[in-house]
């Protein structure tokens, strides 16, 4: 029996996914489609991948029983600490995998898009480690609001190219990266930073991130005596941290998936990135999925205070999970997320990324029992967002 929530041979999750790319990318995409499984399943790859995750990234990331939060919300709350990874977020799991793949494919030049800069930093990092040229596309607005990560990328030797079109954020950076790839069809690998893009990216990125739920299984077993939780909470931009946190529980329907998407200034404000609520089926960046668009198929410029969630689409896996009611989505406004960031900081001494903070806002609205086991995926740390926090809270 086929798994209900895995990608099929054509790159689809139910009706979502596929590879809608111009011919100029066909060669690179089909090369990946053909090779990604055989390469990543080879023993050499598995050994290199897991060794770098251990010795360089610092995995396993802890599963921390958050006593104070648990008391506050009257449930058993565990935090999966992706914020402790090298470079400060889950993004590095994927870039380690993709850089090893790129080496196997003999690519000499790496490109990436980035929103919050975490994926850009993670990519620049693995490029420094592997001594490969690195170009990161980043929306001009994001370059301003995530300045620390821009400095990090440059210090790491990457070139940061501003995307000046559209809303000058993640979507536009992705367009520019795709255009760069079209212009460099031979020597370049494009390290996409989330479970978006044409097949095989969503599946490939989800697999690299699946280490999160792999660890969660035995960590939960150790700490709760049962190797799965009742709820997993994660924020969703494209959805890679969520995909990684859900992966090994996809077919276990006793685990409920709660996604936080960016409602910006409010769902009805015209300034949000609440894709699942405001979006409809369509194609963005090479995949059929849910996206925010006009009746005429023009993609709507999204808004969120959080650069990493400021994206008008969602990965096709998540579109499928939502469509199948396997996952529930909670819209979280800028203000709610900011408050949750402060709440977590003061309650547990952990300053989360603004993206991550959205996931914690779910705790304020969800129903739990005192013995419910809730895992919140702490996708990243908040160092990059300090200026925003400082301004907002007037420190």
């Amino acid at each position: 029996m086929r798994d209900k929530y895995s990608v099929d041979d054509n790159g689809y999750y139910g009706k979502f996914g596929g590879a809608y790319v111009p011919e100029m990318l066909h060669h690179n995409i089909s090369e990946l489609q053909e090779k990604y499984l055989s390469i990543t399943h080879s023993n050499k790859f598995k050994k290199d991948f897991s060794q770098l995750l251990k010795d360089y990234v610092g995995r396993p990331s802890p599963l921390f029983f958050a006593n104070n939060l648990s008391q506050k919300y009257n449930a058993k709350i565990y935090l999966k600490r992706e914020d402790l990874n090298h470079t400060g977020s889950h993004k590095i799991n994927n870039t380690i995998g993709q850089i090893l793949l790129a080496k196997e494919l003999n690519k000499k030049r790496i490109i990436a898009e980035t929103g919050a800069g975490q994926h850009g930093v993670a990519t620049a990092t693995v490029c420094a480690l592997m001594d490969l040229e690195c170009i990161v596309y980043m929306g001009a607005i994001d370059i301003e609001r995530q300045a620390a990560n821009v400095s990090r990328m440059k210090m790491l030797g990457a070139e940061v190219r501003p995307a000046l079109s559209g809303s000058k954020t993640l979507k536009d950076a992705t367009n520019e990266a795709i255009r760069d790839w079209i212009n460099h069809p031979k020597d370049t690998h494009y390290i996409i930073g989330s479970v978006v893009g044409p097949h095989p990216y969503p599946d490939m990125v989800a697999r690299f991130q699946s280490v999160i739920s792999e660890e969660m299984q035995y960590q939960l077993e150790e700490q709760t005596g049962r190797n799965f939780p009742d709820f997993i909470l994660a924020c969703v931009g494209g959805g890679s941290n969520a995909a990684g946190a859900f992966f090994h529980f996809l077919e276990n329907e006793s685990v409920q998936f709660y996604l936080a998407e960016a409602a910006g200034k409010g769902i009805d404000s015209g300034h949000s990135a609440a894709t699942s609520i405001l979006g409809s089926e369509g194609i963005i960046h090479g995949a059929k999925t849910l996206l925010m668009q006009t009746d005429d198929g023009q993609i709507i410029e999204p808004y969120s205070i959080s650069a990493g969630l400021d994206y008008p689409g969602i990965g096709p896996l998540h579109a499928h999970l939502i469509d199948q009611k396997r996952a529930t989505v909670f819209p979280v406004t800028d203000t709610q997320a900011l408050n949750s960031a402060l709440m977590l900081t003061r309650t547990e001494g952990i300053i989360p990324a603004l993206e991550t903070a959205h996931a914690f806002s779910i705790l304020d609205v969800m129903d739990v029992e005192p013995d419910s086991v809730v895992v919140v995926n702490v996708s990243g740390r908040g160092d990059k967002d300090l200026p925003t926090y400082k301004n907002h809270f007037n420190f």
């Binding site: 596929g18 011919e23 069809p185 963005i284 993609i299």
Partner: protein, 257 residues
């Protein structure tokens, strides 16, 4: 017979296909541009449906799309403009756009409305051949609409053959792997590539596009295919021009002279 096929039947070389973006520079510029281009000797016209995220396109076409959308261009309006135009003009018209635009409009409705407005063919760069073949081909035929698929120097031989076989309008040969709007000259490696394509597609009509920007590059390209497509260079030429009609004429003359 579809007007595009008719052109390739009647004219065997140096077919000039000019691209521009609907709604640019003014919302209804199309009504001036198309007649002027036709009059000046253009063989086929490719009308870009402006898109918010035209990821296969370079800066020139991106900018024109952005302006067109700001001007208020929409598919409904575009079809109306074409319907009006068709009362007096007969030049083959192709719509170029992204698959999401077609999907949102509704595939069936899109093909019907395009055809009844007088469109002859479509170019949808991100439409997979397989999806066309299994889900759309019948509908194109029913609406008497042609389609063109793209090939690049990276496209495999089998795939070139398949693209040619599916391209009921003409095969779109991309000069080099790049987005639109570059202006490099034709290099030796490309000639090998063009010759290879020609040998694989037997007598499928073909045009070379991307990077064609003046008379010499047009003529050179026409040596290896039935003609060529010019887009960005034409849009750049229109920039700042008061009189679009004479600008169109001027441009086509400069290419053909």
């Amino acid at each position: 017979m579809n007007r595009i096929n008719a052109v390739f039947k009647s004219k065997k070389e140096s077919i000039l296909n000019i691209y521009f973006t609907a709604g640019h520079p003014k919302l209804d510029s199309l009504l001036e541009i198309i007649p002027a281009l036709e009059e000046a000797g253009t063989d086929i016209i490719e009308i870009g449906m402006p898109y918010s995220d035209p990821l296969a396109d370079g800066e020139t076409i991106q900018a024109s799309s952005e302006i067109a959308l700001k001007n208020g261009m929409e598919l409904n309006l575009l079809f109306k403009q074409i319907t009006k135009l068709r009362q007096t003009n007969k030049i083959p018209l192709i719509l170029m756009g992204y698959y999401n635009q077609v999907l949102q409009y509704g595939v069936d409705k899109f093909l019907k409305d395009a055809a009844s407005a007088g469109i002859d063919g479509l170019i949808i760069p991100d439409l997979p051949m397989q999806e066309y073949e299994t889900q759309l081909k019948e509908k194109f035929i029913k609406n008497n609409l042609g389609i063109s698929f793209l090939v690049t120097p990276q496209t495999s031989d089998t795939r070139i053959k398949k693209a040619a076989a599916l391209s009921s309008a003409f095969l779109y040969i991309i000069s080099s792997s790049s987005i639109t709007g570059t202006t490099s000259n034709i290099a030796d490696g490309q000639i090998t590539y063009y010759n290879k394509v020609r040998s694989l597609i037997s007598n499928t009509p073909s045009l070379i596009g991307f990077g064609i920007h003046n008379s010499s590059s047009f003529k050179k390209a026409s040596l290896y295919a039935d003609g060529a497509i010019i887009g960005s260079a034409f849009i750049r030429h229109l920039e700042g021009k008061k009189n679009l009609r004479s600008a169109c004429k001027e441009f086509v003359q400069s290419i053909l002279s």
